[in-house]
Symmetry: C2
Subunit: 277 residues, 2 copies
């Protein structure tokens, strides 16, 4: 008998809208699971903020999901995963998974030449989150890391096939091409939106690892292992919460999820702060 109810939803949080690419994957792999999503749109982005600030925010975000009785927490934000995962696991009884372990694991399964590239926000790259995780499993792998801070605003602008996006990608990815990597971790949940551009610039021989896909497989593994898989025969319900007004979120969400959403609720971030004190 498990402490948590298998009919409860999976909680997913992110600094803003990027985590929706993870929701899309979970919906597709585990269609009968319900999802409670929290996007901290009032304080986005986390990627440029200090570790201590990100840790504080991540705990507040997770607190909100716990208040919604989720059976599991997915930190669908690479920045939060890279600095706050251990603390989240210490603080909550529900399983907590981040983006780093699943993405690193999938990259290790895919590389043939032992050269893995990682792209992400300034914070994820500065913390060397992926390379540390990869080295833990296989110290012979060479990891090449590159921060690509302009990819997030380009994805949010929807410039998924714009000349400027190619120019930016050419600049950022040049050194990874020279390094001869055969596997590239998209270490930021926004980046799958730009995967066509990234694939074209890197060439078809490079395998792109979508951390949302990788995380969805681990979500399934965790739920199965803990007997927490929903037994529902109907598709799960998604609920969305944001800390700023939902207008922009709802608009961009359509591009990120590939479908329209209506049930977005604004919550008060100061309330979350109070609850977490």
């Amino acid at each position: 008998m498990n402490f948590f109810n298998r009919s409860n939803s999976v909680g997913v949080f992110d600094s803003g809208i990027g985590g929706l690419t993870v929701v899309k994957r979970i919906n597709s792999f585990l269609p009968n699971e319900g999802i409670v999503y929290f996007g901290d749109t009032a304080r986005v982005p986390y990627g440029s903020k200090s570790n201590s600030t990100v840790i504080e925010y991540a705990l507040q975000d997770a607190n909100f999901l716990i208040s919604k009785n989720v059976k599991m927490i997915v930190a669908a934000c690479n920045t939060a995963s890279s600095v706050a995962l251990e603390l989240l696991r210490e603080n909550y009884k529900v399983p907590v998974i981040g983006m780093i372990e699943p993405g690193a694991k999938m990259a290790l399964e895919n590389t043939e030449n032992g050269k893995i590239g990682v792209i992400g926000t300034n914070s994820t790259i500065r913390n060397r989150a992926y390379s540390q995780e990869i080295k833990k499993h296989d110290s012979k792998i060479t990891v090449f890391e590159k921060a690509c801070p302009l990819f997030v605003p380009l994805a949010e602008e929807g410039w998924i096939d714009h000349k400027a996006t190619y120019e930016v990608a050419e600049e950022y990815l040049a050194e990874l091409r020279i390094a001869g990597i055969d596997t590239l971790i998209l270490g930021c949940t926004h980046y799958p939106i730009l995967s066509n551009v990234i694939q074209k610039v890197m060439g078809n021989s490079v395998k792109l690892i979508d951390s949302g896909t990788a995380a969805s497989l681990i979500v399934e593994e965790y739920l199965e292992g803990r007997n927490l898989r929903s037994k529902s025969a109907v598709p799960g319900n998604n609920e969305y919460y944001v800390s700023d007004l939902p207008v922009k979120f709802t608009e961009v969400a359509q591009r990120f999820l590939g479908k329209k959403i209506t049930n977005v609720t604004k919550i008060d971030v100061e309330e979350i702060i109070k609850k977490s004190v």
Copy 2:
């Protein structure tokens, strides 16, 4: 006799580092004035957030400056100026100036053909802050507005002469060129960093209005008018406060100010929230 001491500093706040382009102008026009700068780097950017969130943050930022005994407040953030100025003026006894009125005034003084362009963040453009201010003074002026959300991350990346920046500028500015404007308000404090690219794309016949320059002239006017000009014979001292760790701020500040800074202090944003409640 004035309530405020003329030897006190001028307070300047911004959502992050953009306001430093305004500090640079004030230092250059009014070298013997001291400045207390607060950059809300933990919650940057404001431009993508809702009006109610920005108003709340702006009041907290101003509260912090007041706690430092400033003799005047400059909201060196176009987004905050466009939504929170009236409320700031109601709340504080010190003079408060924003970016919108000075920029609009200077554009009106410069235009010959009556066609003024405005570029800014999503929020500034959505609020139509500049066009409303311009129309108040001269209803015959035609104002063309365009949000340029990628300019801020490009400025922060330091891509001030990069091919990608030209591609982005060509895309954003195309309709303003077609409209035949002769004056363009840089309605975001980050944009002066990209003024070379913007000028090249718009052509030399278009006059660029730097809202920081415009605001500095108004700061001088206000201080003179209220007998608050510093009588000090030595250069004023700048103090910098930020809400997130100062590393990135200090690095980018050098590019924005054109000089090195060392005296940056991190303050606790939750403390500001408490003080403002």
